[in-house]
């Protein structure tokens, strides 16, 4: 066990998994010589060589498309997209091929590729370095999606993604890359996809969150501590979803606040709310409330704090729900 920042845990996972399996190959823009713009891939080119840690041309569809071909040659490619919004050029390959190719072969060929990228706002960056694109990925059949919020999960979920026989997208909350710090198991460490993490137990109200919104949820829970006993559920595996954990918590507390950084309409919180409206309707003691980014372009950073779901907004929603 070592204390690591979240981004260091990512780096650790890549070292361990590339060591473990010679078919794992990393490709992306600036992942090699520079070790990644966030240094998530630092040291890998030196350790595993330029053929396994590849600085590609600047072309996201080319990266993901050639990864599909590399899978056919028996590799397990890990593709880095440099930032959330710069993954959009790869959506066509993702939707038309990555999510369908196995199906198209009648299940005879696997595409064990991983796409990882830093995502999310709050980092005082120029435009398009702040998006939360999970809906585009989650809505696409044939791919799995995970978003860690702790260093240990950042390592374990990435390892699970790399080992998974299906395509997995891992979104890493860049806002907490170097603020979330915690114990990370040394060596092999796998956190299975499809299992939520109960970040905090409570009986009065559940805050459901993932990624950089988990610390926000926890701060809100702290702020509410004197008034209510708040449960925080870290979804962490968006697809497959741990529906059981969601429904169990909803049935226990009867009150659910969903937090997501992405724009509201058709965000992931909508999916969670829909599941609750279908399967927990008799458990609910009040409306299902969403605290989300707004249906507007991610703003200039001088006002981004007002856009990002804050503990204050979560507290407000929780208070309203408790008073319902």
């Amino acid at each position: 066990m070592a204390e690591r920042f979240l981004v260091e845990a990512v780096n650790d996972a890549l070292h361990v998994e590339m060591e473990r399996d010679a078919d794992v190959l990393l490709l992306g823009e600036d992942v090699g010589r520079a070790g990644g713009v966030f240094r998530a891939t630092a040291g890998l080119r030196d350790r595993f060589g330029a053929d396994r840690c590849v600085d590609t041309p600047l072309a996201e569809a080319g990266i993901l498309g050639s990864a599909v071909g590399l899978c056919m040659a028996g590799f397990r490619p890990v593709c880095e997209m440099q930032y959330d919004a710069f993954s959009y050029p790869c959506l066509d390959q993702l939707i038309t091929h990555v999510g369908r190719y196995r199906w198209r072969t009648g299940g005879t060929m696997t595409f064990p590729l991983t796409i990882r990228m830093p995502y999310g706002g709050g980092v005082r960056a120029p435009e398009l370095h702040d998006d939360s694109p999970e809906t585009y990925y989650v809505h696409t059949p044939g791919v799995k999606v995970a978003i860690p919020s702790t260093p240990a999960d950042a390592k374990g979920l990435l390892a699970a993604a790399i080992r998974d026989p299906d395509p997995v997208v891992v979104l890493e909350p860049k806002l907490v890359y170097r603020t979330e710090r915690g114990e990370v198991p040394d060596g092999e460490h796998v956190v299975p996809l499809g299992k939520a993490r109960l970040a905090r137990e409570g009986g009065d109200l559940t805050i459901v969150a993932y990624g950089a919104m988990v610390p926000v949820a926890e701060r809100a829970a702290d702020a509410l501590a004197s008034k209510a006993d708040i449960e925080v559920l870290d979804i962490r595996s968006l697809k497959p979803l741990d529906e059981e954990a969601l429904l169990a918590s909803a049935s226990k507390t009867g009150r659910v606040v969903l937090v997501q950084e992405a724009a509201r309409t058709c965000g992931y919180a909508a999916e969670l709310a829909a599941i609750l409206a279908e399967k927990a309707i008799l458990d609910l003691r009040g409306p299902v409330l969403r605290v989300t980014g707004y249906d507007v372009p991610y703003p200039y950073w001088s006002i981004e704090d007002a856009y990002m779901p804050s503990a204050a907004r979560v507290v407000d929603a929780a208070r309203r729900l408790l008073a319902f």
Binding site: G62, G65, V68, M72, A73, T108, M109, P165
Partner: protein, 354 residues
Amino acid sequence: MASTIPAERGLRRVIGDDASIPDGEVDGLDDEGLLELYRSLVLLRTYDERSVIYHRQGRIGTYAIYWGHEAMQAGSFHALADDDWIFPSYRESAIGLLRGMPPATILSWWRGHPAGWWNPADYNVASICVPIATHVPHAAGLAWGKRLRGEDACAIAYFGDGATSEGAFHEGANFAAVMRAPAILFCSNNGWAISTPVSAQTRAQTLADKAIGYGIPSARVDGGDVLAVYEATRAAVARARAGEGPTFIEAVTYRAAPHATADDPSAYIDPERVEEARANECLGRYERYLRRHGLLDAELEQQLKAEAADVMRAGIAAAEAEPKPDLGLLFEHALVDPPASFQTDLAELRRILG
């Protein structure tokens, strides 16, 4: 620094015209090989012509006709080894036949039947690619992977003239070049992207000119000359195996049939050019070549065509004999490890449909 190889302006030809242009020479094919090539052409042609009829009869769905493209497909195919990978577009849907894929498989594909699914590794033939040009990066990646593994295999991707306008073509070609992937980018320039002529697709003088921008060599061949196509592909394969990276081949023909069974080209096509293309179509040209060289007579021709017709008759029968697929297939194959919800959904669906 090696000097950039400018695309050749003329179209390579091997087959003469029975008149002023004499037949050229082609390496690597003995009489047997020449006849194998013919057999492939006949099989592809028969498949195509029968498919159009099956479509009219309502036995297959919309179908992308490749009439007149057979020389590009068979010629390039025969320059490949069995380990080499093929990345077809919808236009090369039947190329798997040449690797021993049953016609019923491909017919099933056009019947929207899951028996049309295959394991690419069984034939080293990737799935038919429907979205234009998006398979070019796949071929680049596969070929790059083969190089990394130290294997000898290369990859060929087939795409059309229109495909060269897509970003996916560009990114794939560049990846192939940068990774020195043993890949052949085979452009079947049939003059049209549905109703859009190549003149509205690009201002480049030739599509082969595009290769210069990737620093890769190119060849332009007469797409109706099966031996010229063979020859150019053989050279490209040799380069690939020698570790010299990708080659771009532009094979030129004129689309003499509708884009697909759903298309009516009368609104846009030049009927004279179609007439000309049909008169000069690739199978006939090759037959005349073989006859000139004493390799084909009427009897052999009829025999091979009859054989191909039999294969197709059996093929459509087999495709039609496929049982109606169970709807459980909806939930299969997308994921190795499907979520529990798939079972619930399927159970519900079965209950409702009774």
